[in-house]
Amino acid sequence: MPRLTRFQKIRQSRPFLLIALTVLVLLILLLNNGKEVFNGGNATQLMNRLSYQGLFVTAMACLLMSGGFDFSIASQAALCTIFFADFVTFYPNVPWIVFALVVMAMAACMGLINAFFSQVLNLMPFICTIGMSSVWLGVANWYSRGLAKAVNVQSFSAVASSRLFNSPIPLTFVFMILVIVLYSLLLKYTRFGRSVMVAGGNPTAARLAGLDPRKIKTALYVNASVIAVIAGLIYTAQQRSAATGGLPQATPEMRGLTSSMLGGVSFMGGAGGLTGAFFGIILIETLAYSLTIMNLPAWFVLFVNGMLLVVALTVDSVATKTRMRRLGIRSSGAGGMVMPGMSR
C-alpha cells in the first residue's frame, strides 16, 4: 500500500468530504435565494439549532463507538425539561441551576435503566430503548397532559439569548463546540477514551485485556442521558417553554445517528471520531435549513432526511467493504442480519 501524503490524507478524510458538501449546499442556496439568506438572524438561528443538536450528536456518537445505542434520549430530555419547568415555576426563589442538576441526576438514573436492560438483561439496545422511549414520552404526556409548560426565568432564558462579544454567535454554540473538543480529547488521549473504542470494536479482546466493556457502556449510557438533558435545557431556554412535542419531533436521535454514520462512526462500534460526526450534523442542519429557506414542502424535507440515512449507510457499508478488501479479510457472510449489541 503506497503511503499517503498529508494533503492526500486530508483530502480523503470524511470531514473534508462533509465540509465540501456543506459548502456545496450553501452555494446552491446562495445562487437560488441571493445574499440576504446569510444575514445575522438566519445564521444565529442555524447556530441555535446546532447548539443542541451538536450535543445530541456527541452523546450518540460516543455510545455508537462503544457499540451501544440509545433511542430514548430525546424522550428523556423532554420528560426532564418538563419536570424542570415545573420546578422553577413552583420554587422561584431557588436558583435554576439547582434544578438543572436535579434533572441531570434524574437523567442519569434513566441512563442506568437503559444500561440495565442492555448490559444486564442483554436485550438489544435498539429495541429496548425504543420501548423506553415510548415509556418516557408517555409519562411526559401523561404528566403534562400534552400541554407546553412555560419557563419564565430571566436568568435561564439569558443562557440562550447571550451572544459572544456582540457577534451573532450564541454562547450556547460556543459551549457545544467546547464540549465536542473536550470529548474528542477525552476519547483520544485518556485511558477511558481509548477503552471505549476497544470495547466497541472487539468486546472479547477488551475483556481479555482486562477492561470491563459493561462498565464502559454503562458509563456511556449515563453520559448520553446527561448530555441529552443539557441539550434539552438549552432547547428549553431557547423556546422559553418545555413540551413533549418540541424536542422529540426534531428527532435528534435519528439526526445523531445519521451524522455519526456520515462522519464515519461505525454502527458496530470501534471506529470513527467526533470530528466527522460534528461535520455530519453541520451538513444535515445546513441542508435542512436550506430546504426550509428555499420553501420546499415538508414532505420533501422528510424524504431527504430519510434518504440521507440510506446514503450515509451505503457510504459506511462500501467503506467497510473496501477496508476489508484492502486488509485482505473476506466478509463473514452475515449479510446484514447482524444486530448491534449482539456482540456484548
Partner: protein
C-alpha cells in the same frame, strides 16, 4: 454425558409460551373485571369480546408479517407506516383521483410491496442492518404519505375522510355471521401457520434465523427467503391498511401509528425469539389477543391514553425480558 429425559405432555403444556400467555390473559380479565366498576363500566360482557376481536385483523396483518421476519432473524420497523401509506392511497384515490376503489387498493398494495422490495435490497445487497434500513424507509414512506395527502392548495390534510358505497358494502359483509375481516384473520393465520410449520420453505425460515451461515452451507438460498419475507411483510401491512379503511373510512398521517410496535410485541410475547429461529404464529395470535384485551381493558377502566402508551412500552420490555430469560433457561438445559 447427560441424558435427556422425555418430558410428559402435561408439563410440556405447562411450560409452553401459549399456556403462560393464557394465564396472563386470565389474570388481565380478572384485574379488569375488578377494576371496571370503579369507572362505572363492566369488562366481562359480550361487547368487550366483540370489540377485542372486531379490528384485530388490522394489527394481525402486522403481527404475521413482522413475526415471520423475526423468525428469520430480521425485523421491519416500517410496517405500520407502510400500512398508513396504503390507507392514505386508498382514501385519496376515492376522494381525488376518481378511479374505481379497487384500482386504489391495487395501487396501494403494489406501493407497499415495492417498499418491501427496497427494504430487502437495502438489507441483502447493501448489507444494512434490518432495523436501520427499515427505519429509514419508514421516514421515506412517511414523506410519500405526506406528498399524497397534500391537497391541490398545498395543505397537508391530517385525515382524509371518504364515502364509498362499495367499501360500505365490504364492511358489512359477513360470512356465517362473522365479520369478513375476522374470517380473513383466521385464514391468514392458518395459511401462514401451515407455511411456517409444515412447508419446506417455512423450515428454511427457521434455519436462516437460527444460523444464516449454516443455512447457506446447507444449500438454502437465504437471500430468497429474506426477499420473500420483506416483501410479504410490507404487502400484509398494505392489506392491514386496506382493512383499516373499510372499518374507519379514512386514512391519515397517524393511521396505524398506535400499532407501531404491536406486531413486534405480540410476536415476541408469543414466543418468537429475537435471535431468530424459534417460535410460531399460534403464540403470536394469543399474544395479540392479550395486547388487545389489555388496551380494551384500559379503555373500559377509563385510563388516560398516555398511560396506555406508557404501559405498551412496558409490555414490550416485559416481553423482551421474558424472551431473554427463556433463552437463558434453554441454554442452561442444553448445557451451553
Amino acid at each position: 454425558m447427560q441424558e435427556f429425559k422425555s418430558v410428559p405432555i402435561t408439563s410440556k403444556i405447562l411450560r409452553s409460551k401459549a399456556f403462560m400467555l393464557i394465564v396472563l390473559l386470565v389474570m388481565l380479565v380478572i384485574v379488569f373485571t375488578l377494576l371496571a366498576p370503579l369507572n362505572d363500566g363492566q369488562f366481562f360482557k359480550a361487547t368487550t369480546l366483540q370489540r377485542i376481536l372486531s379490528d384485530i385483523a388490522i394489527p394481525a396483518c402486522l403481527t404475521i408479517g413482522v413475526g415471520l421476519l423475526i423468525v428469520s432473524g430480521g425485523i421491519d420497523l416500517s410496517a405500520a407506516k407502510v400500512g398508513g401509506l396504503s390507507a392514505v392511497v386508498i382514501s385519496v384515490n376515492i376522494v381525488n383521483w376518481g378511479m374505481p376503489w379497487w384500482v386504489g387498493v391495487l395501487i396501494a398494495l403494489v406501493i407497499s410491496s415495492v417498499i418491501g422490495l427496497i427494504n430487502a435490497v437495502l438489507v441483502n445487497e447493501l448489507g444494512f442492518m434490518p432495523f436501520i434500513a427499515t427505519m429509514a424507509m419508514s421516514t421515506v414512506a412517511d414523506a410519500i404519505l405526506r406528498l399524497i395527502a397534500t391537497d391541490s392548495s398545498g395543505v397537508v390534510r391530517a385525515v382524509i375522510n371518504f364515502k364509498n358505497d362499495s367499501i360500505d358494502a365490504i364492511n358489512k359483509f359477513t360470512i356465517f355471521g362473522l365479520t369478513w375481516s375476522v374470517v380473513l384473520l383466521l385464514i391468514l393465520f392458518i395459511v401462514y401457520g401451515l407455511l411456517l410449520s409444515k412447508s419446506k420453505f417455512g423450515r428454511q425460515m427457521y434455519f436462516v434465523g437460527g444460523n444464516r451461515l449454516a443455512a447457506r452451507l446447507a444449500g438454502i438460498n437465504s437471500k430468497r427467503v429474506s426477499y420473500f419475507l420483506f416483501i410479504n411483510t410490507s404487502f400484509l401491512a398494505g392489506l392491514g391498511g386496506f382493512i383499516y379503511t373499510t372499518r374507519v373510512k379514512n386514512g391519515g398521517l397517524t393511521t396505524l401509528m398506535n400499532d407501531q410496535f404491536t406486531g413486534m410485541t405480540a410476536a415476541i410475547l408469543g414466543g418468537v425469539s429475537f435471535g431468530g429461529g424459534a417460535g410460531g404464529l399460534g403464540g403470536a395470535l394469543v399474544g395479540l389477543i392479550v395486547i388487545r384485551s389489555f388496551n380494551q381493558g384500559m379503555v373500559i377502566i377509563g385510563a388516560s391514553p398516555y398511560l396506555t402508551s406508557v404501559l405498551s412500552g412496558v409490555l414490550l420490555l416485559v416481553a423482551l425480558s421474558l424472551d431473554y430469560f427463556s433463552q437463558r433457561r434453554q441454554a442452561k438445559r442444553v448445557g451451553a
